[in-house]
């Protein structure tokens, strides 16, 4: 490595910051767990965790809140990655919770909101005190005020009016019994940083993120690929289009975007010229209200 001017690039700076945060959590908090959705952000976060402890194994388990509405490609990817890294996988199952009657699905089929109680139950059951999440501050205005170390009370709630000041890189991980800290090592990364890091580090991602010809239907101005959870309704025309996913959420609600980007390099070019935030473009569940994310976060959502 030649760095005669002792300067790190933007990606190296972000990487160093994230690794520092991840190590700090393991040093200070009892039972951390990394929330892994199979999406690009959590994939990058998992890679940073690997680098933080190499050549040792990642010293905490990975948890997936399984809504039962996953893209099969994502589940396959999750299992493969977890096996490669030799980490334990904890699955918090929303279908199991629905079957047990602890939560009820919303009428529109969204299980986004009911993920939260399932997550909180799993946290309590396993005694996790620190939860790594892949959220970024550039995603949403509620996230713009989020800390690296975000304190949650015994109900998992976020109180935006009463956050701990976060000074320098001296993080305060002290909690009482029952309380927990959400950790956001990717806070300062932007969507483009994530993609550039995936390119630079040659990180594997689910194929859904790259353009491919898929059968789609159009609903409320958005394109949904036909799959196990999205069946054409009466009057809907199925057509073939070259599309990709910018985010990977539940398969019944995540829309695809028309795209020619078949490589990570092309995805970067596409995002660089696109003027549409990723959640606005593809997540039907965030369109409900302007403050949707703020409300969900207060309840204990990531």
């Amino acid at each position: 490595m030649t760095t005669p001017d002792y300067r790190l690039s933007q990606l190296e700076t972000l990487e160093a910051e994230s690794i520092h945060v991840i190590r700090e959590v393991v040093a200070e908090l009892e039972r951390p767990v990394l929330l892994f959705s199979g999406g690009k952000d959590s994939i990058v976060m998992l890679e940073l965790a690997r680098k933080a402890f190499a050549p040792a194994r990642i010293p905490f388990p990975v948890m997936h809140v399984d809504t039962g509405l996953n893209f099969p490609e994502v589940l396959e990817f999750r299992d493969k990655r977890v096996a490669e890294l030799g980490v334990d996988l904890v699955v918090a199952s929303v279908p199991d919770a629905i079957a047990a009657g602890t939560v009820k699905q919303e009428p529109n089929g969204s299980r986004n909101r009911i993920q939260t109680p399932v997550l909180l139950d799993a946290v309590e059951e396993h005694g996790f005190t620190a939860l790594f999440g892949g959220a970024r501050r550039d995603e949403d205005k509620a996230r713009a005020k989020e800390r690296m170390f975000s304190f949650r009370d015994e109900f998992g709630q976020w109180d935006p009016k009463n956050q701990r000041p976060e000074l320098w890189d001296l993080y305060n991980g002290r909690i009482h019994l029952g309380e927990s800290i959400r950790i956001f090592p990717l806070s300062n990364w932007t969507e483009l940083d994530i993609w550039q890091y995936i390119l630079r580090e040659e990180i594997a991602i689910p194929a859904l993120y790259l353009a491919e010809e898929r059968e789609v239907v159009e609903r409320q101005g958005m394109l949904y690929a036909v799959n196990e959870f999205i069946r054409p309704r009466d009057g809907e025309q199925v057509r073939r289009e070259t599309v990709r996913y910018r985010t990977v959420g539940d398969a019944n609600l995540t829309a695809a975007v028309p795209s020619e980007a078949t490589t990570v390099e092309e995805v970067i070019a596409e995002i660089a010229v696109t003027r549409m935030t990723e959640r606005g473009a593809t997540r039907g569940d965030d369109k409900v209200s302007d403050a949707a994310m703020e409300d969900r976060k207060k309840e204990g959502y990531f």
């Binding site: 005020k145 000074l167 890189d169 028309p258 980007a261 935030t277």
Partner: protein, 437 residues
């Protein structure tokens, strides 16, 4: 663009250009902005985000819909939480991101009114540069002094005074010069190594991204040009090697049976393989056998790299220890003399017990004395104060249960700082910066 408009043309010149800009090697500049809503801070930030194309179409459309006047209110781009809108206040530091072909920027937007000390100190703690907004019609206010003082207390190396609303004073050179001279005189009393004063109109964009024709008398750069070019590489301390041990890595696997590495972030200075080093508190010396970075072994490590250091000898080293050079060690002390910003409702008083976190070391401390409380508006030192209330700043003496390895904050921002934590509530209640004994 709506999602079904069709794919982005990846073979266009725009795509090629955007791609090249995106993948260019850049560095990061961390900025803190201070000022109240009335100074036009939100408009300025909205302008920087919009003109640097960090604003996406759906965000812009939402703002366009919400704008009430004839023009699109860019201030709404920095609109906060519903909890804040309901109360008409901004409650916390918000972080914004934008980039140009040269640099990427992380901007800590700190509200000016409620909890201003806490917010400004939080924002300034990580900043390379602070922007203080001044309304050209009002000139330098108490608040402007306060912001400049806090930036200097936190040793933010670069300060920019943006004299805003120049359009409302008919682009008066005299008005600009009066504010510039007054600020320069005030800054001379503080530790502000680099001060730049720019006349702007955030609303119209004058001197924000490009030089304005309305200020032919102004020969300096536009604000964004200055942000892109300000030299920050030499702001870091590359002289005093300091490596606080964060975590010990021992794989205990067959493939790496003998591996024992000390993970941490280089606080200052440069570490090289083969360097003779000393480990504190034991004082034992050894040499660096190797340094592992995120992509494998590296020859040297410098701030802010996160690495793992391997030592030649098998010493007892754990979290909270510090690796340095034998001829250049920090001070080991249990007596701290520091400027403290207090952030709790309950005042800081002598004999109070607190937890303290300094680098990777956590100890307990007792307040020995509140030497004086500082009036941040007049810089007057009140030696009779006896305690520090919420948002007060003062000189405090503390005694710790274990030695800390410290440098003065002025020389080393990384080893000269600490936080104070209330052991009953676990809240972060203070920020401390060590001064020379």
């Amino acid at each position: 663009m709506t999602p079904v408009d069709g794919p982005v043309d990846l073979h266009s010149d725009a795509a090629a250009q955007a791609h090249d800009i995106a993948v260019a090697r850049k560095d990061i500049l961390r900025i803190a902005t201070a000022g109240s809503v009335d100074d036009g801070k939100s408009t300025l930030i909205g302008r920087l985000l919009y003109d640097s194309k960090a604003v996406f179409e759906d965000q812009y459309e939402a703002v366009e819909r919400a704008s009430k006047g004839d023009y699109v209110d860019l201030a709404l781009l920095t609109d906060g939480l519903r909890a804040e809108r309901e109360q008409g206040i901004t409650i916390d530091v918000a972080y914004r991101y934008f980039s140009t072909p040269r640099r990427t920027f992380i901007l800590a937007d700190t509200p000016g009114h409620v909890q201003y000390t806490r917010n400004m100190v939080t924002g300034a703690s990580t900043a390379d540069l602070a922007i203080v907004l001044v309304d050209a019609r009002k000139g330098m206010l108490e608040q402007s002094r306060r912001h400049a003082f806090l930036a200097s207390l936190l040793r933010v190396p670069h300060l920019v005074v943006a004299v805003n609303k120049m359009d409302l004073v008919d682009w008066s050179e005299t008005t600009y010069e009066a504010i510039r001279d007054e600020f320069t005189a005030f800054a001379a009393k503080l530790s502000i190594p680099d001060l730049t004063v720019v006349p702007i109109s955030a609303l119209n964009g004058d001197n924000v991204v490009t030089r304005s024709e309305n200020t032919p008398w102004y020969e300096g750069p536009s604000l964004l040009h200055h942000l892109e070019h300000v030299h920050v590489a030499s702001d870091r301390n590359l002289v005093d090697a300091r490596f606080p041990v964060q975590y010990v890595i021992r794989p205990q696997s067959d493939a790496h049976h003998d591996y024992r590495g000390y993970a941490g972030r280089v606080a200052s200075g440069v570490l090289r393989t083969g360097d003779e080093v000393q480990v504190l508190p034991s004082g034992l010396t050894t040499t660096i056998a190797g340094i592992d970075g995120p992509r494998g072994p590296v020859d040297e490590a410098f701030p802010p790299m996160s690495v793992t250091v391997r030592l030649t000898d098998d010493l007892d080293v754990s979290r909270g220890d510090l690796i340095c050079r034998p001829a250049n060690a920090p001070r080991a002390t249990q007596d701290l003399d520091a400027m403290v910003c207090w952030m709790a409702d309950e005042p800081l008083r002598p004999r109070q017990r607190l937890a303290i976190k300094h680098t990777t070391r956590s100890v307990r401390a007792m307040v020995k004395d509140v030497v004086y409380r500082l009036d941040v508006n007049t810089l007057h030192r009140d030696q009779e104060a006896g305690d520090l209330g919420l948002n007060d700043i003062g000189r405090v003496m503390l005694r710790t249960t274990q030695p800390l390895f410290v440098d003065d904050y002025a020389r080393n921002r990384a080893t000269g700082r600490f936080i104070l934590v209330d052991e009953a509530t676990n809240a972060t209640v203070g920020a401390g910066m060590l001064v020379a004994p």
